[in-house]
């Protein structure tokens, strides 16, 4: 049987020579993401801001105009209505109501009353008061910081610091550009997005570590090879793995985006972008960065690694 080769066996793509293009691209990506974040901001969901979100199934196809007229003069501020997946499912969003935690609950009761008769089923009711919103914001921030710190510690423990810097720059690049993507398309930024960001951080490092492992191995193997050539060789050697793993992950995500339903679509779309940019950054950013970080080469074998390999070989 002829096996499918996504990448030919002996590629020799000169990634390192094109590093300026990649760096310019990445710089532009990160800068525009930061600009978008600072000037356009994020479309924060009710998880973080507080507020009300209802997913309702209407009797028959939803008449958005009728629904809007019912909810618009309740004095609840800006009410947003949006078809959600099916023709008879509508997402109704209410901004945080002034008046603290109890005001949110009161507004839901009002909202539901105004929809009497047209709604067949309340599929989802999310009400978040300002207290919980603030707490969720803090927890999300803490989770992201703790994840990056934990990954940093791990990398620092397993590799020389130069590699750690390269990996973290690539990770920051992936996370920041994902945030930029959310800002650009005004996608709702909620708790699931934070989960996606953390998973992207994990995947980004995962991908970078595989290439770095090969760089380290080759640095011991080819003591005299110029670094750019050695880096190219390492990337090319691991290229088919990089591509195949990204592909299988993308296949799983593709199934989730297509068949997984509306509720997790934002999450899966973010993940797809993250896998894409994570693959790109470990090849085009993390490894070329090592050139500027003065990596030490020479015969420093890692004594800890030898016995582990022997055991694995038994």
């Amino acid at each position: 049987m002829k096996l499918l080769r996504t990448v030919p066996a002996d590629t020799n793509i000169q990634f390192i020579n094109k590093r300026y293009v990649a760096m310019a691209l990445s710089l532009a990506l990160v800068l525009s993401s930061v600009m978008l974040y600072s000037f356009k901001g994020l479309n924060l969901g009710i998880d973080f801001l507080g507020g009300v979100m209802l997913e309702v199934k209407t009797k028959g196809p939803a008449d958005i105009a009728n629904l809007r007229s019912r909810v618009s003069n309740l004095g609840l501020g800006d009410v947003s209505l949006q078809r959600f997946g099916q023709p008879d499912v509508v997402l109704i969003r209410l901004q945080r109501q002034p008046g603290g935690d109890s005001a949110q609950e009161a507004s839901v009761a009002k909202l539901k009353k105004s929809l009497d008769g047209v709604v067949a089923e309340y599929r989802r009711t999310d009400v978040v008061g300002p207290t919980v919103g603030t707490e969720l914001q803090e927890a999300a921030f803490l989770a992201v910081v703790a994840a990056i710190a934990a990954i940093l510690v791990y990398i620092w423990f397993r590799f020389e610091w130069q590699f750690g810097v390269g990996a973290i720059v690539a990770l920051a690049h992936d996370v920041v550009s994902t945030v930029g993507l959310f800002s650009l398309f005004s996608l709702e930024f909620n708790l699931s997005t934070v989960a996606a960001l953390l998973t992207i951080a994990g995947y980004s490092i995962n991908d970078t570590v595989v290439v770095f492992d090969r760089v380290r191995e080759n640095m011991r193997k080819y003591k005299k090879m110029p670094l750019p050539e050695l880096f190219n060789r390492s990337i090319n050697e691991t290229l088919s793995r990089t591509v195949n793993t990204s592909l299988t992950t993308m296949l799983a995500l593709f199934a989730l985006v297509t068949f997984g339903g509306e509720v997790i679509r934002g999450f899966t779309v973010a993940m797809m972008w993250g896998i894409f940019v994570g693959t790109y950054s470990s090849i085009a950013l993390a490894v070329p960065l090592l050139l500027y970080l003065n990596v030490m080469r020479g015969g420093e074998e890692e004594p800890a690694q030898q016995p582990q390999q022997k055991e694995a070989a038994s």
Binding site: A143, A146, G202, A252
Partner: protein
């Protein structure tokens, strides 16, 4: 490479069997499981509220209001009594959780102080001037009070939710003053909120029939609005005596019923309540008697004749449902403090089932795509990786069932994502084997080198994702926590299946075939 020690074989076979046996109950109809003998594992995955539908409410006990009331009612009264007992006069002011006491006669200061202390051990009493005392409720005293308060609130809420006829509600304390209520499968969350949120403090007063609610109100009276009820109408002011004749605490039963075609609530007093009720009705025939619930008059009937049996009927403006709800509230008793809703997340049964279906379909299709890809890319070895992948999924389901971890929709996404990422270890190993074959190694050697050299990379790369997964579990809430759970379990089990299970299969195959070249 070829020797795969017996204990490793036993481990691989044992773990795979475990996975299959404990995953199977999730695919069998519940009726079958109930018919099985008790030693057969029948635990299924615990579905989160976003999948089975239901309500999730986070409530905060209004401790501030409670403490204020505690200070104003309990302690002020006790201090007044102490001051009277020492035969002097004093002013008592409440400032937050402190009481400022100004005693008229400075000579009695010490005596008043020690008496207050003696009677209220949880108060710290200090002298702050020659006739001034400051009494503060100590941290521990406050904590104890609040702890009891939350405990009492939980039991009242539990009684109310149970009375609604729900199944498996979870009512749990969170932090110091919060209560989490989760009711699976509930349709009408607005009703749940109405029932939980009502303080349901019921008192019985006499109506002052000589007093005009719009005019001068005697100090012994107060004006309370009527409850327009669920049938609409305008509130109407009543002038009632401040004196509480009876409270809801004396009730032993309340039931919704009908009288003249109208929904009403019948109630029954305990023996003490019945005696007092009999006395009141006997001495006040012809007067109006107000039943007040949460500072609203729900009804004020005229006492036609003495009621000595200790039971009666509340005839408000009820609907069948609101009569039923009031009966539930009266049976469960009053909440000792009011509740503030912090968060609500409810999912209707329709969306829950849709999510399960969508999650199953997406996982299945994702799996088929990955399985096909692996076979196309790595042939026979890819097929072995696919078999390992199936064991991996079984193992994830088995672990979720055994640990009774909660499976949420993001959790299903985590499983689907793990399916895509789990084969990474095999991709790493097989790619390495290809390289080693290209470098001219024999099949045995190449296989051996492939596994051993890829191993450190596999561990390095998986551990980073594991860190992210574990943090999601720690910091995440609700559904997101579910994602952290499946991601973490998935990574751990995939490391086992992708390394050990495929290796076991490849060793068996190499031994039988002794191939000249690897099919990779």
């Amino acid at each position: 490479m070829l020797d795969f020690p017996t204990w490793k074989r036993a481990l691989v076979i044992g773990v795979c069997l475990f996975g299959i046996i404990y995953a199977i109950p999730n695919f069998l109809p519940v009726q079958w499981l109930q018919a099985l003998p008790s030693w057969v594992p029948v635990k299924r995955m615990n579905l989160g509220l976003d999948l089975r539908g239901g309500a999730h409410l986070l409530l905060q006990v209004d401790t501030k209001g409670y403490l204020k009331e505690l200070m104003e009612n309990t302690y002020v009264a006790s201090i007044r009594a102490a001051v009277n007992a020492e035969k002097t006069h004093a002013s008592v002011d409440v400032v937050g959780n402190t009481l400022v006491i100004q005693v008229r006669d400075p000579a009695k200061l010490d005596a008043v102080r020690s008496r207050i202390r003696q009677e209220n051990p949880e108060l710290t009493v200090e002298t702050t001037g020659n006739n001034k005392l400051r009494a503060t409720l100590s941290e521990t005293g406050m904590r104890n009070r609040i702890s009891t308060l939350v405990q009492q609130s939980i039991s009242v809420i539990r009684r109310r939710v149970d009375e609604m006829g729900t199944t498996e509600p979870l009512i749990q304390r969170q932090g110091s003053d919060r209560i989490l209520v989760q009711v699976p499968g509930l349709q009408d969350t607005e009703r749940l909120k109405r029932i939980i949120g009502k303080t349901a403090k019921m008192t019985f007063h006499m109506v002052d029939m000589d007093c005009n609610p719009a005019g001068q109100i005697p100090v012994t009276d107060m004006v309370v609005q009527s409850d327009p009820g669920t049938r609409g109408g305008k509130p109407y002011p009543y002038c009632i005596e401040k004196r509480i004749r009876l409270t809801g605490q004396n009730l032993v039963d309340a039931q919704p019923t009908f009288q003249d075609g109208q929904p009403v609530v019948s109630f029954r007093f305990d023996s003490r309540g019945a005696r007092m009720f009999g006395e009141i009705t006997r001495t006040n025939v012809g007067r109006l008697f107000a039943i007040v619930l949460d500072n609203k008059v729900i009804t004020a009937p005229r006492i036609e004749e003495p009621i000595l049996g200790g039971s009666g009927i509340i005839r408000g403006s009820f609907t069948a449902e609101s009569a039923k709800d009031l009966a539930i509230l009266l049976r469960a008793g009053a909440l000792p403090a009011s509740m503030i809703y912090l968060e609500e997340r409810s999912v209707g049964p329709g969306l829950g089932q849709d999510s399960i279906d969508a999650g199953k379909l997406a996982s299945l299709i994702g799996m088929v795509l990955v399985v096909v890809f692996m076979f196309l890319a790595y042939g026979l070895f890819g097929l072995m990786a696919d078999i390992a992948l199936i064991f991996n999924v079984a193992l994830i389901l088995a672990l979720l069932s055994v640990l009774q971890a909660t499976l949420t929709l993001p959790g299903i996404a985590g499983i689907a994502l793990t399916i895509g990422m789990a084969v990474d270890a095999n991709v790493l190993i097989f790619e390495r084997m290809r390289e080693e074959v290209r470098n001219g190694r024999s099949p045995m050697n190449a296989t051996d080198a492939g596994y051993s050299r890829a191993l450190t990379t596999i561990i390095d790369s998986n551990l980073t994702t594991l860190i992210a997964g574990a943090l999601l579990f720690v910091f995440g809430s609700g559904p997101i926590k579910g994602f952290g759970v499946t991601l973490t379990i998935g990574i751990v089990s995939s490391m086992f299946t992708a390394i050990m299970v495929t290796r076991f299969m490849i060793v068996l195959w190499l031994r039988r075939k002794r191939p000249q070249a690897l099919p990779i």
